[in-house]
């Protein structure tokens, strides 16, 4: 028998004190007073530790109370399984929550003429050419020329791109800064999916950056949404859809975008 269970042993042998329950009740009743006394009395490290313990206890208590409150809510009838009604044949199925176009909502939005030209990020910081390009000075001949540029920002390069001969290549888009995919958020469904980039539609900085496929904050890109299963009014699968970049890809190392619906 372990040494530490001597109280239990004693109780088994001789029974509890006659006033055991009474004392226990009283101690429990004094608990609150004791705690407040301690909280006022303690100093230094002890006080710090005590406060931390009480803090954790209180959090736990609040959580428990909340749980009980939820349990006590009386409802008439079973709650509905979801907000959008489904026919009986779809009720027991776990449907993949694909980000499908809320076509009616889109229609309404299109009706508002202004919405057609509004994008989530209307204004962006201007980027100067000095920041965007770095003059290439390496090599014997390039150093003399001084017209070769390296783009210092992330870019999108189409899959069918082939580099021009070195002699004629004015802009170099570094391999390490090329992106093929973007994390696209559907604003209404609040779903984020990684989708392949199709093209750069407009870089607000300058048309030249659009042509070069530079990905900066506010750039409109076209993404392949065929995975989302969006369907046009006439029942065709939507393939490409526009999105606007919401982060600074050169800082973050990824492209985040929001779908324009």
């Amino acid at each position: 028998m372990p040494q530490n269970e001597y109280i239990e042993r004693w109780q088994k042998l001789h029974g509890k004190r006659l006033d055991h329950d009474e004392r226990k009740r009283k101690r429990l009743a004094r608990e609150g007073h004791k705690q407040s006394q301690n909280a006022q009395k303690f100093h230094g490290l002890r006080a710090k530790l005590y406060a931390k313990k009480r803090h954790a206890e209180k959090i736990q208590m609040r959580k428990t109370i909340k749980k009980h409150e939820q349990k006590n809510i009386k409802s008439d009838g079973p709650s509905e399984p979801s907000a959008n009604p489904l026919p009986p044949y779809l009720l027991d199925r776990s449907l993949p929550n694909n980000a499908k176009a809320l076509s009616t909502a889109i229609k309404q939005k299109r009706a508002e003429k202004a919405a057609k030209f509004s994008v989530p990020l209307p204004k962006v910081r201007g980027i100067s050419e000095e920041e965007m390009f770095k003059v290439v000075k390496t090599g014997k001949k390039t150093a003399k020329k001084g017209w070769k540029r390296v783009i210092t920002k992330p870019t999108f390069v189409g899959s069918d791109f082939t580099r021009r001969p070195v002699k004629y290549e004015r802009f170099i888009r570094p391999m390490g800064l090329r992106y093929k995919k973007a994390n696209v958020t559907h604003p209404e469904l609040a779903v984020t999916v990684q989708l392949p980039l199709l093209s750069v539609k407009k870089n607000p900085q300058s048309p030249m950056y659009t042509q070069l496929g530079v990905l900066t904050k506010g750039t409109i890109i076209e993404v392949n949404v065929s995975e989302l299963g969006m369907v046009t009014v006439s029942g065709k699968v939507v393939w490409g859809r526009w999105a606007q970049i919401t982060n600074n890809p050169e800082n973050d190392g990824c492209v985040n975008a929001v779908l324009l619906v």
Binding site: D92, T104, G235
Partner: protein, 517 residues
Amino acid sequence: MTTVLPPKSKRQKLAESKIAQAQQKIDLIPEHVPNVVVHLQAADTGTQLGGELHIPGNTTAQQLGLLVNKLLGTEDDRVPYTFSLLTSLTNVDSPIIDIANDLWTSVLKPGHKTTEDVLTLVYTPQAVFRVRAVSRCSAAIAGHGEAILATQFSPASSARMVTGSGDGTARIWDCDTETPMFTLKGHKSWVLAVGWSPDAKYIATGSMDNTVRLWDPKTGKALGDAMKGHTKWVTNIAWEPFHLQSDPATGHRFASSSKDQTIRVWNAALRRVEMTLSGHSASVTCVKWGGTGWIYSASQDKTIKIWDSKVGRMLHSLNAHAHWVNHLALSTDFVLRTAYHDHTGKPPVTDEERVANAKERYEKAATIGGELVERLVTASDDFTMYLWEPTKSTKPVARLLGHQKLVNHVTFSPDGRLIASASFDNHVKLWNARDGKFIFSLRGHVAPVYQCCFSADSRLLVSSSKDTTLKVWDVKTGKLHTDLPGHQDEVFAVDWSPDGKKVSSGGKDKAVRLWKY
């Protein structure tokens, strides 16, 4: 740089057209085909018609139709017939060959039979009326506040239609003026199932709030309060066939299937549960009331159970499926739904005549080869379907393989010759209802197909899909007849009126759409 060829001279063109004509001629039927000996046999009764007939081997199906009409003495009001060849009289499993155009191309040229053999041709009457394919959306009627989950036309006419919606109401629509008539308020949750009684006196609705309610379609008033009994939501409603009712005036009964694993049979006049059929061990997905007094139910416990509607005893349990059974259809569904309302639009007046008429129509539809056969097809989550003949055996007649995702909906054509199945693999497939042979795959939808419905003459099929469209298919050729875009979201429910004039559909975009030709 390619060189543009100079235009062809007249001589060259003539020569080419000559070659083309010669090539085309190969397909033509030869003019002189020896005579063949033909036995004509009725499909329903199996009786012989007119003994042995000597006819030319290049006779077309149309000419055969004329011949049958003449022999039956129905020349004045001709009935169109389709013909098929029995390859063997003794062997039941031998293939049956449909005669698409003429005897030569269908039978003699492929070598199924020679001109020496006696050909036994089975003739089946087709619908004497023709349903025109719907081609335009005549109305998109707003009214429901939530998605539409079920729709059904009145069996009496295409003027009335009822829809059940996620806003807890059902609505009756006047389809002639395309306006809402009545709003059936009462359910506390989604209306999942709607069903007209075969004599169009009642509408029963089943809901997510576990209750069933009855309504009077003439006044739009509720008949009594909610009928409680089920402990989970109601998935389907099936009315008792008209000719089986104990008393045609008051003896209306219907069955409702529920997620709570039971089927309840209700008396509409007394408004109480007559029987509770329990035996399934999972949600009952579909219930149908057959014309012989059997109730068929499909369940997620992988079985199909057959119940006696008189005493409520389970008669058979059909076990073959490997996963949930989603839907079942009877070969007589159409006549049971419409009872005594036929294409003429003049239903009989007295109750006796009505019962007699309904019974006659049922027997005509169910008779194959001289015996009453009610066939059953079940669609399942295991991507297959089974064809059953429960009166004969609890073993399936055929297994219908081909779908690549779960099969959601299955229907028999009104003449009982075809089966159409709608699946989540974006295809509708057509099957022969006699032996379960695959006929066509109807490709065109780009998302799961939810439901499909035949036209009353069995010549067209409409399917509704998640891709927001309805599509009308030509059953004979297996081609897309018309594409019906218009819905703005998924189409959950579709129904073709029994007289073939209108199609109604409803879905997630909350508008009921009516389609006409």
